[in-house]
């Protein structure tokens, strides 16, 4: 019988960690881009467009990420495409995180006093110019802490992609458990690695919140 040392387990988990990190970064970047587009469209003049954005956010926040993953996975397959797990995972995570980021940022933009909108409108700025030069630079300071905080949610959400067969940290944990029969050690280590990845980010988000909100404290 082949024995597995603690180092064997840990080394393989750390190798799989690369994919958790890569998927998190990719979905954060793509989700952020899509979220920003949704933010601009959500402020648009067309009522239909605004309504559509509301529905998008409602649907992606009101359904489980697992179901979204399955729908992308099997939905793309309907078009006769061979869908690799990583593609379905990053697409679903992008759509999902965009809905949350758009909502977080919408709140930050809404917290900018209306006088700023009116003043910039008086200067004959277009909607895009208002957002770009007046509103977003101010909203950014409020947005940065919750955005970093949402990064933790994305990292944790990548664990669900193991269910459609993407081999990241959690999936590696399951595979190693099947080989070693030591679930307590393996899932303990998996949890520990996630914790070491997320906890500093959580703390950093709290730090940013204190630092960036100095102006709002009395």
């Amino acid at each position: 019988m082949i024995g597995f040392s603690l180092w064997d387990i840990l080394r393989n988990l750390l190798l799989a960690l690369r994919w958790t990190v890569a998927l998190s970064l990719l979905s954060f970047l793509l989700g952020g881009t899509l979220g920003m587009a949704l933010l601009f469209m959500g402020n648009a003049r067309s009522r239909l467009l605004r309504k559509l954005i509301r529905v998008y956010i409602e649907v992606f926040q009101g359904t489980p990420l697992l179901m979204q993953l399955f729908l992308v996975f099997f939905g793309l397959a309907l078009f006769g495409m061979e869908v690799p797990a990583w593609l379905a995972a990053s697409l679903a995570l992008t759509f999902w995180s965009a809905s949350f980021l758009a909502e977080i940022w919408r709140g930050c933009v809404a917290s900018i006093v209306s006088g700023q909108w009116e003043a910039s409108a008086c200067l004959a700025m277009s909607h895009f110019q208002q957002m770009r030069y007046i509103i977003l630079p101010q909203a950014l300071r409020i947005a940065i802490a919750p955005t970093v905080g949402f990064g933790v949610q994305i990292i944790k959400a990548t664990a669900v992609t193991s269910i459609i067969g993407f081999i990241e940290l959690s999936k590696a944990g399951t595979i190693i458990t099947n080989a070693t029969f030591e679930p307590f050690t393996v899932f303990g280590l998996v949890g520990l690695i996630y914790f070491l990845l997320c906890w500093p980010l959580s703390k950093y988000s709290q730090f940013l919140e204190r630092k960036c909100n100095v102006a709002h404290r009395h």
């Binding site: 489980p64 697992l66 179901m67 399955f70 099997f74 307590f184 949890g191 914790f195």
Partner: protein
């Protein structure tokens, strides 16, 4: 695209879906009830509890909030039997949901507790109320009022998160979807229908929690307690 959608083949399994919905509701009710109770205890322990308990509760909150629910579930279901604790899949799922929501609601309710004006606590103590009485009558109710929206959305998130419990063979809604597509090979339709059901459940749950908030958390003030609040907060209530 030459694919013919066939949603009727999913509706043939309406009974399976119904069983799944009931199990998801059962998990959510137990998770939310016990989770919020645990959160209230955690918030008490972190703000007023004994000194030895505070770091334990803080560590619990940080560990749970910074690890995925799926890994917590696997640790409880696969890990605990590894050290001799036997647990059924249903109990593992319930335990994981309670522990998970407990940590989040500890943090949410604690924020409400921290927002209590110092003068109100001192006023309560000067009326010779015990610390526990002050917490129960003066701090908790207004704290819950303040954080109810945040608590509600966390409960909805936990309800949606329960879909992961299908991975340890708990027969809830996503398990039902999985079962159906393994029988009729209509994967997209099965998951589509169950996703719509989840959406409806999330919307209904949000409405229900809003109703509970208005009915039981905000408005339930007897004449006496309204007067007490008015006196204690210097006539501001």
């Amino acid at each position: 695209m030459s694919y013919q959608f066939d949603f009727y083949s999913v509706l043939d399994y309406a009974e399976v879906l119904q069983q799944g919905i009931l199990m998801t509701i059962r998990l959510t009710v137990i998770g939310a009830g016990a989770g919020v109770a645990l959160g209230i205890f955690g918030a008490w322990a972190r703000t007023q509890g004994p000194a030895w308990l505070k770091p334990i509760v803080s560590a619990y909150v940080e560990v749970i909030r910074n690890t995925p629910f799926l890994v917590q579930l696997f640790f409880i279901f696969f890990g605990l039997p590894g050290i001799g604790v036997q647990i059924t899949e249903l109990h593992a799922a319930m335990l994981a949901m309670v522990i998970n929501l407990g940590a989040y609601s500890t943090e949410i309710i604690r924020a409400g507790v921290a927002a209590t004006a110092r003068g109100q606590i001192e006023a309560g103590l000067s009326l010779s109320m015990t610390h526990l009485q002050v917490f129960r009558h003066i701090i908790l109710r207004p704290a819950l009022q303040k954080v109810w929206p945040a608590l509600s959305s966390q409960i909805v998130i936990v309800m949606l998160g329960s879909s992961v419990c299908s991975q340890i063979a708990v027969e809830e809604l996503s398990f039902a979807a999985n079962f159906i597509q393994s029988r009729n090979f209509r994967a997209f339709e099965a998951y589509f229908v169950s996703t719509l059901i989840y959406l409806a459940m999330a919307i209904l749950l949000r409405q229900l929690l809003r109703y509970i908030g208005q009915r039981f958390v905000v408005q339930r003030r007897t004449a006496v307690s309204t007067r007490a609040v008015a006196i204690l907060s210097g006539g501001q209530a």
